[in-house]
Amino acid sequence: MNGAPSPAPSDGESASTLAARVRATPMPWLWSFVGAALVGLATAAVFGFAIAGNVVETALVFAIFMVFVGLGQMLVITAGPGNIDLSMPSAIALSGVLGVQWMKGADGLIAAGIAVALAVGVLVGIANYLLIRALRIPPIIATLSSSFIIQSVAITQSRGMPPPPPALQAFATGRLLGVPNLTWIALALSVALALLLHRTVAGRSLSALGQNARAAWLAGVKVERVRAVTYVLSATIAAFTGLLLAAVSGGAALDMGVEYMLISVAVVVIGGTQVTGGKATVAGVWGASMFLYLTNAILNAVGAGAGVRSVVYGLLIIAVVVVAGGRPAR
């Protein structure tokens, strides 16, 4: 996958100095926050502060799911060119369905349900990694095939689903110090991941792997182990998200993860994580999630339909990646 390491002089080198400036910024995540703040201010200017405040508040609940899936996808994308996890939506569906089934609507069984959901995540991650390793195929096709199978398992398990236990629902929609509980969880996870990525050997190994797998291997990084852990972490985060989604929306649905497949990649890219791997930014995922959610909200507010919103999303993603540029991936 990572043959010719020497970056050939690209035709795009002379393209724009803007790109160079963006890439040179020590804080690539800053841009997504600037974008989010601008959209927030625009909302306030058009609709007044009261409504803008409301929008930001709902963003703290609903954009959080984008943050979760984005964090998982960020880890995988950081593992290097070609790495991507397409099985996230199906992992979300399966863990949501199985977790809720095991809880049987009873508060006493919440712990069991959470354990089952997380176990689903770990298993999915291991399966993904084994497929990638054993079949020596690009992760995109490995996670795609596994997602087909996971989806089928989820379908067979989805009959006669009880509602989530009341205590779980109350927790998922509850607040602590005025901030939604889910936001706290996402914050805790983000801090943990940021520490892991930037302060531990494991995190540095992941970055090294993403920048140049061969060099990382020569430097003594246990490449395969890092890759395996990355996929397990991503799938586990997806599984956890599935359970939370089921809790917030009052029940698990088979298609509740579908929209997050594209969104998860979008927030990672817009957030400033290097698409070709090797450089992650946790804060960027937050900024990008807020940015996308607020953009969505303001488009909604001015009466733009689903079509316009989708087109704007797409153009945003393309614009960001074109400005940020890339390096020869292979």
Binding site: I137, P328, A329
Partner: protein, 312 residues
């Protein structure tokens, strides 16, 4: 040496073998399908998928991946069901515009050295959004000429087989046998060498993306002719199915190594897989999962043959 050759040959035959492995049980389980109309019905939906697969193949030849082909095919179907019926000239212009846009995206991907996965991901939002704008709820009608073209009964052999064969041979000749085709494949296989020979990589990628768009347009129109109405989410599955079909057909993700005929066989195999599972009385719950399993089995076979045949 001889053994290596044999393994390589088995490997090359794998797409055909998987098709036989799906087709024979169908004929055994349901002998009535072994007829002009039976085969026609079984393969009815193969033609659009074959075309979408060739679109994906063009992109994979360029060492890229297209995550937007499904939404694009849906958009084409929506344009066909609305603009092409009421204002044919505008419809044709819109389709031509889409093709040019695709080619421009190809040029952009090469020029800025950005990952195609992310760009086409963004494009998929754009196509889907445009389709929703054009056709907010399922509906529209197929232009009469498309419907009659898709309903045309070929003599002796069922129409889908005739179309698929013609498409496969045509694309094979263009991509594998023409000098332009060799050049395009070279731009995916060894870009640096091609550049040093003085060929423009930007132009090569723009061409391949443009070709992909052409196949996408054909696929969308075929699909519209078969379903006679469109929907913005009509062909979303095609993104993943087309990638799977190219891989089933022996294509590699890197190095511009692809097989047109293999990919066409792969697309037909995937179309038949659904009927195959239905005839086996596999519950509908497991049909998606079995497609994933089939993919994994074929890929494992390929790895086995590769490993024994030519250790790296």
């Amino acid at each position: 040496m001889n053994r290596t050759l044999d393994r390589a040959r088995v490997r090359a035959l794998l797409p055909a073998l998987s098709l036989v492995a799906v087709l024979v049980p169908i004929f055994v389980l349901q002998p009535t399908t072994f007829s002009y109309f039976g085969i026609g019905l079984l393969l009815n939906l193969a033609v659009p998928l074959v075309l979408a697969t060739l679109a994906q193949l063009a992109i994979i030849t360029a060492n890229d991946l297209d995550l937007s082909i499904g939404p694009f095919v849906s958009l084409v179907a929506c344009i066909g069901a609305t603009l092409l019926v009421h204002r044919p000239l505008v419809g044709v212009a819109a389709l031509a515009g889409c093709v040019l846009l695709y080619a421009a995206v190809g040029a952009l991907v090469e020029y800025r050295q950005i990952p195609s996965i992310v760009v086409t991901l963004g494009l998929s939002f754009v196509w889907n959004g445009l389709a929703v704008l054009l056709l907010p709820s399922p509906g529209g009608t197929s232009p009469a000429w498309i419907a009659s073209a898709m309903g045309y009964q070929t003599p002796l052999v069922a129409a889908p087989i005739v179309w698929s064969t013609a498409i496969a041979l045509g694309a094979h000749l263009l991509l594998m046998r023409s000098s332009t085709g060799v050049r395009l494949r070279g731009s995916g296989g060894n870009p640096r060498a091609m550049r040093r020979f003085g060929w423009s990589l930007v132009r090569a990628k723009a061409t391949l993306y443009g070709v992909a768009a052409l196949f996408g347009v054909l696929s969308g129109l075929c699909l519209l002719g078969l379903t006679t109405s469109a929907d913005a989410n009509l062909a979303l599955r095609y993104t993943l199915l087309s990638i799977a079909a190219v891989i089933l057909g022996g294509g590699e993700f890197v190095g511009g190594r692809v097989s047109v005929i293999g990919a066409v066989l792969g697309a037909i195999t995937l179309t038949l897989a659904a009927s195959f599972l239905a005839f086996l009385n596999v519950s509908p719950d497991w049909q998606v999962g079995m497609q994933g399993a089939i993919l994994i089995v074929v890929l494992s076979l390929r790895v086995l043959l590769q490993r024994r045949g030519a250790p790296r």
